[in-house]
């Protein structure tokens, strides 16, 4: 029940946020003072994107379909957040580690894992990160995180990891 309540709250707040946004995006200069009377409420919307950015940054895993290095839409926000982080902090460096499930040839999987890592790197560079900030490496199917021999384990192992250096 508690989970359900939470879910409802999230949905509701989501809806509210959704409603609040379009008017804001309307370029009606006269209405801007309306924001000023409630300065305490300003940090709230500002904090929301920040916390989203933070939570996206704690997410370091990009998952793939079998024999695919295509970046799924659901992971693009994570990659975008890390790309922004690298752009905002030029001293940061990451290694992207490509991994594969245990099926198929080790050598082909090594190449596939490399392509998975490289596709993440390419998107980050497109978004402003520097080439020198990103290294890629493939472990192929050699370092599986999940040790089972089933679809659940395989899905977990078809993955790129974003690893910050000096972490």
């Amino acid at each position: 029940m508690k989970n359900l309540t939470l879910l409802v709250l999230l949905v509701v707040s989501g809806v509210l946020a959704g409603c609040a946004c379009p008017p804001k995006s309307q370029p009606v200069a006269v209405e801007q003072p309306k924001v000023e009377p409630a300065p305490t409420s300003v940090p709230a919307p500002a904090a929301a994107p920040a916390s989203t950015q933070d939570s996206l940054l704690t997410n370091r895993n990009i998952y793939y379909d079998f024999d695919s290095s295509a970046l799924k839409d659901e992971y693009k926000a994570i990659i975008t957040a890390h790309a922004k982080n690298l752009t905002d902090n030029p001293s940061l460096k990451v290694t992207i580690q490509g991994n594969c499930d245990e099926r198929g040839s080790r050598e082909y999987n090594l190449a596939l894992g490399q392509r998975r890592a490289d596709s993440v790197k390419r998107m980050m560079i497109m978004l402003g990160a520097k080439e020198s900030q990103i290294e890629t490496v493939s472990f192929g199917r050699e370092k599986p995180r999940a040790l089972g021999h089933n679809e659940e384990a395989w899905a977990e192992n078809r993955r790129s990891d974003i690893v910050y250096q000096d972490e």
Binding site: R103, S105, R106, E107, Y108, A111, R115, V137, H149
Partner: protein, 430 residues
């Protein structure tokens, strides 16, 4: 042929199958299940004097021949006298026991501490010698001598080259420890070539059997090394940014085809081992990997997903457009030429299963040889008659063999642990 009568029985059967299949469907795969019924009956008499040795020679010979699947070992127990020379052979008695050929021999200690090992292979029907050899070896060479005798018997009866006096390389994983090992083909005498806490893959024998190239992840990335089996000395062949992998020796041993991702996608390059000069061989927008030199050194088989899914292609070493060879299914990988260059073995995905198959270059017909769930890393024996591969049994990696006609299968449990990435070495030269 040399008096191998069971082959005569098999030939008409193959011809019939070939005709019926090709007329029905050019792409039809012949799936053979089970093992061959026709086996050549051979009796191997315990060699005189071998009972005083720490290691029976004839036990090793019999195990080799039996493992090939082509031979039935006829009981040679209960003999009142052990024949050593041809005049001592009771041919009628061996015919009654059902043997067509008979191996006899003796092991005698020499004053210098070595042993004299001699054997003869007798045709029981014609009552004449087919082949015979004598060796002077030390005690540590007795197993190898037994493998040589098994090869001599195999060659005399089949007309094909031998395969028993050979080594295999493989990786064994125990917990987090990986070891690259080399062992006799029957699993004896395993020795560690490299031990690491990170994975090792793709061992490849130099054509003369003195070196192994392989990929080690010991520095947290794939790097290609080459190592002398005699001295243990090794060198880095390729350590560029990205992945360095999939070594394959040219037949003359002077070049290695390798795969590098330094310029983007994984592509095939050629390294001249004398000069170190690197030449890019493949140019595609996809993954090109798993190169394998043809026996004549002129072409290379490889895996590429340039067409949307991983398939097997062939290209000339000197350039030219690669030709796609596999079209069935969406996942065909790990091509390896047969030693005669007339066919190749590869891994084919069938539904959720990965199996070993061969394809003939002329007929383009492929034949599925195995039915495990995760069969991989196939390679031919030096004589092309047997395919060694890795598979999974009860969640553990093991090695298996299947005869290149798909009739005979064995499993090779080398040690405890996960065993994978087998590579069959060339016949050992003296």
């Amino acid at each position: 042929m040399k008096n191998f009568s069971c082959f005569l029985h098999l030939f008409p059967l193959f011809l019939l199958w070939g005709v019926s299949c090709s007329s029905a469907n050019a792409q039809l795969k012949i799936e053979i299940i089970g093992s061959g019924a026709s086996q050549f009956p051979i009796a191997i008499v315990p060699f005189k004097g071998e009972n005083t040795l720490p290691q029976s020679v004839t036990d090793v010979i019999a195990a080799d021949l039996q493992r090939s699947g082509l031979f039935k070992i006829v009981d040679s127990g209960g003999l009142t006298t052990i024949p050593v020379e041809p005049p001592q052979v009771d041919y009628a008695m061996w015919r009654t026991r059902g043997a067509d050929v008979l191996a006899i021999g003796a092991v005698s200690p020499l004053p210098n501490g070595q042993f004299d090992v001699r054997f003869r292979l007798m045709d029981i029907l014609k009552q004449q010698q087919l082949t015979g050899f004598a060796y002077q070896v030390n005690a540590q060479q007795l197993r190898r001598t037994a493998h040589k005798i098994a090869d001599a018997i195999y060659e005399a009866l089949t007309g094909d080259g031998g395969m028993f006096d050979t080594n295999i390389a493989y990786i064994i994983k125990n917990g987090s420890r990986y070891e690259l090992k080399v062992a006799d083909v029957d699993g004896y005498g395993a020795r560690t070539i490299l031990a690491s806490n990170e994975s090792i893959i793709s061992p490849a024998w130099s054509p003369d059997g003195t070196m192994l190239a392989y990929v080690s992840f010991e520095h947290k990335k794939a790097i290609v090394y080459m190592q002398s089996l005699e001295t243990g000395v090794r060198s880095v062949i390729a350590n560029f940014k990205g992945s360095n992998s999939a070594p394959s020796w040219s037949p003359d041993g002077k070049r290695l085809a390798i795969v590098l991702s330094k310029d983007g996608n994984s592509q095939i390059y050629l390294v001249n081992l004398d000069s170190g000069v690197l030449t890019r061989l493949s140019i595609s927008g996809g993954i090109d990997t798993e190169p394998n030199f043809s026996p004549d050194g002129l072409s290379i088989l490889f895996t590429s997903d340039r067409g949307g899914s991983p398939q097997i292609y062939r290209m000339l070493v000197n350039g030219g457009n690669p030709e796609r060879l596999t079209f069935d299914g969406t996942y065909n990988v790990t091509p390896r030429f047969s030693p005669d260059g007339k066919s190749f073995v590869f891994v084919q995905r069938n539904g959720g299963h990965f199996n070993i198959a061969t394809q003939d270059f002329v007929s383009r017909q492929s034949q599925l040889l195995t039915e495990g769930s995760l069969d991989e890393s196939p390679c031919f024996s030096p004589n092309g008659k047997v395919i060694l591969y890795a598979t999974n049994e009860g969640g553990h990696g093991i090695l298996s063999t299947v005869s290149s006609d798909g009739r005979e299968r064995t499993r090779i449990s080398v040690e405890i642990g996960d065993v994978f990435e087998p590579a069959w070495g060339p016949l050992i030269k003296d």
